[in-house]
């Protein structure tokens, strides 16, 4: 963890909001859970993306359930962003805004 724990604190704060947001999506979560549980019954076979439609619904509900003070990572910002087709999770904490050169060192700060 970094010296003052700023990044860790920020990421952990986002994670703390997860239970609340998940609670708002009870129906979608239950549908996804039922789909996965059905595959564990005898005769079922769990493969990748077996329950992809249910999970997509859950993910959209989860993203929409973000509270107002949230950062744009994996929240409402995902819908308008040009990278909205990107499906891998962004929880490394790296900013998703494309890098824009701000100032050169020559000009001072």
């Amino acid at each position: 963890m970094s010296g003052n724990g700023a990044v860790w604190g920020r990421v952990r704060g986002r994670l703390r909001a997860f239970p609340g947001r998940l609670a708002a999506c009870g129906a979608e979560a239950a549908a996804y859970g039922r789909c996965v549980q059905a595959s564990t019954a005898p005769g079922g076979r769990l493969a990748k993306d077996l329950c992809a439609p249910e999970f997509e619904a859950l993910r959209r509900c989860f993203a929409a359930a973000s509270s107002p003070g949230d950062s744009p990572l994996w929240g409402c910002g995902l819908e308008e962003a040009p990278w909205k087709d990107q499906t891998r999770s962004l929880h490394t904490g790296l900013s998703v805004v494309p890098f824009v050169a701000k100032k050169t060192l020559r000009g001072g700060l």
């Binding site: 963890m1 970094s2 990044v7 860790w8 990421v11 952990r12 994670l15 997860f18 239970p19 998940l22 609670a23 979608e28 979560a29 239950a30 996804y32 859970g33 039922r34 996965v36 549980q37 595959s39 564990t40 769990l46 493969a47 990748k48 993306d49 077996l50 329950c51 999970f55 859950l58 993910r59 989860f62 994996w74 499906t87 891998r88 999770s89 962004l90 929880h91 490394t92 904490g93 790296l94």
Partner: protein
């Protein structure tokens, strides 16, 4: 037991010459290779003890450590009960993997004269709970106890042996430092611990990512525990199991509590990353498959309590073959036999 994803930014320095880029940040799996000079060729290197020490230090440094203490308190008081059950006073006792001293706080000065607290995390030893027995804190690894042979009357260990790499050796060490007619009372997590979390993560990871990696550490089976204690030299073994079920609002709270207890995963083969998609899917599966009526989700902790004695001549031994004076066929007349025995005394 559970690592909650990678939570820190990494700006990687350019790799040193000769280091393949794909190996950056990946831990090397050391499997099945014992360090030179080790006395047990069967030693495995499953857990990263250095990381476990860091995790326990971090957990002990939290602003509210008592928030996560409930499980260790419960098991610590159970072990103290078992110590009281033995009608003996112990002048010198040792607590292996003591944490903040959950066992010692329940015992009194008459039962235990002096307590040695051993742990690998110095922060836990610095923040010990209040206890009336005089204690000495020693920073040591459970597998390398720095004590002489035949030192302690009593050795206790509560919920820390499931992180040792070489459990046979640790038990042999405990047997070594015990005095003859000394007793070892231990508690370890058993095979069914956190099976709900393990299954939910497996299913979610398979569905989301196409495969899964272990997130809950492997536990000892109860049969193996008896064999291990016997092989270490203990006599008169007793092993019994207990299941504690704790209800949580959801999977995320459970994982946060596990991390706060210092029980995060530290196996070498752990995956460094747990994707948010997988976490979300696992929480949904956990809730759907295991929830209670009131909406909370249970987590099972299966505890094995074990008692073993170090051999001493005064201990009861099985009788010699051929020394029987009555036969089993006379079991129906046992009342007559007993009253005859009383008359002859």
């Amino acid at each position: 037991m559970q690592r909650l994803g990678r939570l820190w930014l990494l700006w990687r320095r350019p790799p040193a010459a000769g280091v393949a880029a794909k190996n950056l940040g990946l831990r090397e799996v050391a499997s099945g290779v014992s360090p030179p000079g080790s006395t047990s060729p069967r030693a495995l290197n499953i857990f990263d003890r250095d990381m476990k020490r860091k995790q326990k230090n971090w957990a002990a440094r939290q602003p509210e450590p008592m928030k996560f203490d409930y499980l260790k308190e419960a098991v610590g008081s159970q072990i103290a009960d078992r110590v009281y059950d033995i009608t003996r006073n112990f002048s010198l006792a040792l607590d292996v993997g003591c944490g903040r001293g959950y066992i010692a706080q329940h015992l009194n000065k008459e039962t235990v004269g002096k307590f040695f607290q051993v742990d690998i995390a110095e922060n836990a030893l610095k923040n010990t709970l209040e206890m009336e027995i005089p204690t000495v804190s020693v920073l040591a690894d459970e597998e390398f106890l720095p004590f002489k042979e035949n030192t302690f009357d009593l050795v206790v260990s509560s919920l820390s042996l499931h992180w040792v790499n070489d459990l046979p050796r640790a038990l042999e060490q405990i047997h070594y430092v015990l005095k003859p007619d000394g007793v070892f009372i231990g508690a370890m997590f058993g095979g069914d611990t956190l099976y709900e979390l393990r299954c939910s993560l497996q299913l979610a990871e398979t569905e989301r990512e196409g495969g899964f990696s272990p997130h809950v550490s492997p536990f000892t089976a109860v049969n193996d525990l008896g064999h291990l204690l016997g092989r270490a030299g203990f006599n008169t073994l007793t092993v019994d199991t207990d299941e504690i079920q704790v209800n949580y609002p959801g999977m995320f709270e459970l994982m946060e509590d596990l991390q706060g207890m210092g029980e995060s995963n530290c196996a070498w083969n752990r995956k460094a990353l747990l994707h948010r998609d997988t976490m979300l899917a696992a929480a949904a599966v956990y809730r759907e498959m295991y929830r209670n009526e009131d909406g909370s989700v249970p987590a099972t902790y299966q505890i094995y309590y074990m008692i073993g004695w170090k051999y001493h001549d005064s201990q009861a031994r099985p009788a010699e073959r051929g020394s029987a004076t009555v036969s089993f066929g006379e079991l129906g007349k046992i009342n007559n036999l007993m009253s005859q025995g009383k008359k002859s005394q």
